[in-house]
Every structure is written in structure tokens, then in C-alpha cells.
């Protein structure tokens, strides 16, 4: 299976994501922001970092990059897309996911490992997890405070589209939301970084379950 990883100017988790893709036995493919081509990948990861310096708003500029046009087409055709951290921000800016990620409530960057619960396993990025499973995942962001209006939140809950939920909310997110999916459930955005817990030497490899899920879903 080929998994594309987008690279915007300022992305800084692209190499980490590609390595994690390798670790689950898939083939990582670089998707340069200026190339309007997904190189026939089977899934796309929009990795973390500070695309375009996070200037203006995180994700605001990246969503216009050439490659994003293709990512949108791919997503709308049902292809599995995962946005991690800055990638989540890009996907909300691109309206592939609802809501917005505001500045952390205490106005500070937060970098630590937090416990989250897998709330929905019927997405391509959580299929390898147990339902209700608790994972310890790193977060590292300045704008991770998930916001959506009351109606949207109610819909997300009703339709079980909250994918990950914080057990200790590090940023003020509404409903402790750490990740959501779109209506068709193929596009998922999460703030925690699964690629960072990809090796026992780093304390755990729990994050690989997220990436392995997309292989399980594809029957690989």
C-alpha cells in the first residue's frame, strides 16, 4: 500500500510520518505542495508542523497549495485522509472537516503526552484500535482548542464522529475533542501525534495502531 505524505513549506513532521508509514509496512510517498498530483497513492497523511510558518492562521495558506486541490478530490471520492496536528488544522481550513482549532485556552504551546480514548473505530484510521481503547499520545501545538458551534457539536456527537477524546484536556477543546471525522468517515483529523509513539525506545509504539488501521481497512 502506498501512503502519501504532503509536504508544505514549514511542515516538520513529514519525515516522522513517512518513517512511521514504513514501520507499519506501507510505502511512504512524498507529495510536494506545488505538485498537483497524488502519484496514485492509496491514502494521504497531512502531517504536522508549521506550514507557511502558521502565519495568518495555522493551515490558512496551506489549504490553497496545489496539492490540496488533489487531496480534496481524493477525499471527496472516499479516499482515506488523515490530518495530524497542523494537518488537522489544514483540513478544517479546507472545509474537509467541520469546526476550527483555536489558540489553546491558556495561550501557551503545549507539548506533553496525554491520554485519549478511541471513541469511534469505524474510520480507516482507527479500525485497528479497540473501541473505547485508551492510548497515551503526544500533543505539541499552540492551536489545538477544538471549536464548533453547538449544532455542529451536537451532530458530531449524534453521528459518533468524535474519533478521539482527551481524558485530560490539554487545550480547552469543546467536549474534550481530540479528533473528528467527516460525514463519510474517510477523512479524520486529530491533534495528537501517533507517529511519535512508534517505537518502544521512545516509550511506546501505540501510535502505530492508528497508521496500521488504514492497512486493516484495505485488507492488507
Amino acid at each position: 500500500m502506498n501512503i502519501g505524505v504532503t509536504i508544505f513549506p514549514g511542515s516538520n513532521c513529514d519525515r516522522d510520518a513517512m518513517r512511521a508509514v514504513e514501520l507499519v509496512g506501507a510505502t511512504p510517498v512524498q507529495l510536494w505542495h506545488a505538485d498537483p498530483d497524488l502519484k496514485n497513492v492509496d491514502a494521504v497523511i497531512v502531517p504536522g508542523g508549521f506550514s507557511y510558518g502558521d502565519y495568518l492562521r495555522p493551515g490558512a495558506i496551506a489549504r490553497f497549495a496545489s496539492v490540496m486541490g488533489e487531496v480534496e478530490r481524493f477525499a471527496n471520492a472516499g479516499g482515506p485522509v488523515l490530518g495530524v496536528c497542523n494537518g488537522f488544522q489544514v483540513l478544517t481550513e479546507a472545509h474537509l472537516l467541520p469546526g476550527a482549532l483555536l489558540q489553546n485556552m491558556n495561550l501557551r504551546f503545549v507539548s506533553k503526552r496525554v491520554r485519549v480514548r478511541v471513541e469511534a473505530r469505524d474510520t480507516p484510521w482507527t479500525a485497528a484500535c479497540e473501541s473505547g481503547e485508551e492510548l497515551m499520545l503526544p500533543v505539541a501545538h499552540n492551536e489545538g482548542n477544538y471549536f464548533a458551534d453547538a449544532d455542529t457539536l451536537a451532530r458530531l456527537e449524534d453521528e459518533s464522529r468524535v474519533v478521539l477524546r482527551y481524558l485530560e484536556n490539554p487545550n480547552g477543546s469543546a467536549n474534550d475533542i481530540a479528533g473528528v471525522c467527516n460525514e463519510a468517515r474517510n477523512v479524520v483529523g486529530i491533534m495528537p501525534h501517533p507517529e511519535r509513539v512508534s517505537d518502544d525506545l521512545l516509550g511506546s509504539d501505540e501510535g502505530l495502531k492508528i497508521l496500521r488501521s488504514v492497512l486493516v481497512g484495505a485488507g492488507v
Partner: protein, 78 residues
């Protein structure tokens, strides 16, 4: 050389959207001896020189503000 227009765009958190930055500023004021401030909101100021104002609305809509959480206004200042 074509004349340029100076555009000023004000982007602010929509009403009812949490504005932790504004809250923090408001909270810091009394300690500095500033009383009588009822509300504070912090937003973004964008100033541009453009050749024509035709695209400004589209830029605001699509790039400069996030309609989910922000509202904007703009004017030609020169």
C-alpha cells in the same frame, strides 16, 4: 506604474466565540492599575497595498478570515 490602493482589513472573533486572548488582556489590566475596562477583544489587522480592490472581498472570504470563527470588514484607506 499603476496607482496602488491601501486596504485595511479588520478580522475579529465572531460574537460568542471564545476569545482567550481578549480575556487574558482584560484580566491583566486591573493588576496594572487600569480599571473600568468592560470588554476586550483581540483580532487581526491586515494592511495591504493592491493594484485594484476587486479581489479584496474574495481574499477576505477565502484567506484572511476563517468564516467559521471570525468576521471581517475592510475599507480602502487611501
Amino acid at each position: 506604474m499603476p496607482e496602488t490602493l491601501k486596504i485595511r482589513v479588520l478580522v475579529r472573533p465572531k460574537r460568542g466565540i471564545l476569545d482567550p486572548q481578549g480575556e487574558a488582556v482584560r484580566g491583566a489590566l486591573p493588576a496594572l492599575g487600569f480599571d473600568g475596562v468592560k470588554t476586550v477583544h483581540v483580532g487581526r489587522l491586515i494592511e495591504m497595498e493592491v493594484e485594484s480592490a476587486d479581489e479584496v472581498e474574495a481574499m477576505c472570504e477565502r484567506l484572511l478570515a476563517n468564516p467559521t470563527v471570525e468576521e471581517y470588514e475592510w475599507e480602502v484607506v487611501r
